[in-house]
Symmetry: C2
Subunit: 341 residues, 2 copies
């Protein structure tokens, strides 16, 4: 176990002061080129590594970005968004800490607290489906830690948000279904506590209305993402007297599960029932049939959210910086599961 060197060690060896070493290491302008070179050389020789804890404690700011997402797995979207976040963070010299809330409010609160206690420079969060109070976010704000919501936003707080046009995505895909000649589309929506579920639901309903179809007759069942509800919901749809001729699911994962149930029952997609998902998960293109979905610029959401939180973190005057509410476009990817032959 080798010794861990500090700026003190390198100062001693070079017979200069710690401050000069500290400055040199940070490439501060008022250090001569020569001393800088000497310092870097010695640092390298000793394999010096700055103690970030001490550095952050003294400078009162950190290079950490905390990210809280509902779940790391299963959702291609978050993985992609995370990549975007990490790309920007890396460019700007931040390192990111990822935490999962597991879709639980209490866990989300714990994670945010932990991040605040670790004195992160900023927090990026995609709310859990249980989140209906925002004190934990306020807590961070009160400590001057900027919070930016991504994907799953909330209008209850005055916070910057980077989301996707869920409403339009749902509207467009529903319109696509109608254009394809489906007259009785159903919707499997997500938990209404999530604003994205609401927006997708509204998009669905409005598209029906605008096409002159009766929205009140449309069947909508709620299923939580990732649960087995999709199976039950599908069976309920199938047992209706007037069986829907298309199903728009609020997520790709639900769509995949629905497809499974339909195929097991010998129901053909899209001949008997058309199927569309939401999120643009690449897996939808590997299914049989390929599934129509609504693509989201996941990576870009991560990029923009991260840029924003860093800007807020580095801003001297947060007040006049204000908050932004960025809504990125979605795009319907038409695939076999909805295309009439």
């Amino acid at each position: 176990m080798g010794k861990v060197y500090t700026i003190h060690d390198i100062a001693i060896r070079l017979d200069i002061s710690k401050s000069t070493v500290s400055r040199a290491l940070r490439n501060h302008p008022d250090v001569s080129k020569e001393t800088k070179e000497l310092v870097f050389e010695m640092a390298k020789k000793l394999n010096y590594q700055k103690n970030i804890l001490a550095s952050n404690l003294a400078s009162k700011n950190t290079n950490l970005i905390g990210v809280v997402i509902p779940e790391i797995a299963r959702q291609h979207f978050f993985a992609q968004a995370l990549s975007g976040i990490q790309k920007v963070a890396k460019e700007k010299g931040y390192i990111v800490m990822v935490c999962q809330s597991n879709e639980e409010l209490q866990e989300e609160i714990n994670q945010v607290n932990a991040l605040v206690n670790s004195r992160v420079a900023g927090i990026l969060i995609s709310l859990s489906k249980e989140t209906d109070s925002y004190e934990h976010l306020q807590f961070a704000i009160d400590r001057n830690i900027p919070v930016v919501l991504f994907d799953r936003g909330a209008d209850e707080m005055e916070l910057s948000q980077v989301t996707v046009d869920d409403y339009k995505g749902a509207y467009d895909v529903t319109k696509h279904l109608i254009h394809q000649g489906y007259t009785n589309p159903a919707h499997l929506c997500g938990p209404m506590s999530l604003s994205i579920s609401q927006k997708r639901y509204n998009g669905f309903i409005d598209a029906l209305k605008d096409a002159g179809l009766s929205a009140s007759n449309a069947h909508v069942y709620q299923c939580d993402n990732l649960s087995l509800d999709a199976k039950d919901a599908t069976e309920r749809l199938l047992s209706l007297k007037k069986r829907p001729d298309a199903v728009f699911c609020m997520s790709d994962y639900i769509a995949i599960q629905v497809l499974k149930v339909l195929k097991d029952k010998g129901i053909r997609v899209p001949e008997d029932i058309a199927l569309a998902g939401f999120a643009g998960d690449p897996i939808t293109d590997l299914m049989d049939p390929t599934i129509t979905t609504v693509e989201q610029p996941a990576f870009e959401i991560g990029v923009q959210a991260c840029r924003r939180v860093i800007m807020e973190a580095e801003s001297e005057d947060r007040e006049t910086l204000g908050v932004i509410n960025k809504v990125l476009p979605t795009k319907v990817i038409e695939r076999d599961s909805t295309l009439r032959v």
Copy 2:
């Protein structure tokens, strides 16, 4: 922006010393019950949050566990393992930082360095497929930071490892294929830089040999996980004069892609070609046909790896603690893609 209180603030208000406050907050035995109560009360009243940076700096140890994985997305396995890690970490009062190497050695090195600089208590890592040098791990070890490898191990370093019995999993699934009557199985292996690829390959080959089949005639093509190679590899298999009657893929994701290609070409699974994957990703059960796979105790791997790294981190005498090499069992899940009718 509310004031951020410190132990000093609460000491002043209670007219006691900082040290007592510090001790009380940590529930140190030599503080009277009464003072503790007063301190806790005041802490709560002020909404005091310990500054972890300062705490860690002073005590020279942290409550952070760093985790480096090749990629967060696409692989159900890592997500599950991560959950196991987080469960244990939480129980023991640690918080985990997740980093991605993106399967790149350089990025892995960067991440490990960042973790070391953040003075994490321990590092859990699943090696990237490019990793062929281990100085970055040695670097952590030299700084007295324990490193535990999970899933993707390496025998080049004397480190604790928690892996899965890849050899046996591959052996068993190949045996299963042979039992089902397939006489000419092919294998799509992963990058041979990964020990798991090698082990799965060896398991495949040995199962053939033990069944009296010619291993030298077996077709093996390498495809990197997640790349589009799976398509090419499948086409090469199909264009062989003696077309294989079964394909064992080193990962579920590859299997899914192969299935797609086969179906697009009108080749029936399992009638024309049987198909098996590896990892136990739940998506395999949603495919049509359902795909045979080798289940790994992903969550358990995370749990055990995390327990171990914490044990090593907290050990006074790392030397005599030594290293462990835990190999967890795998289990073949037989599904339609390999079952003869």
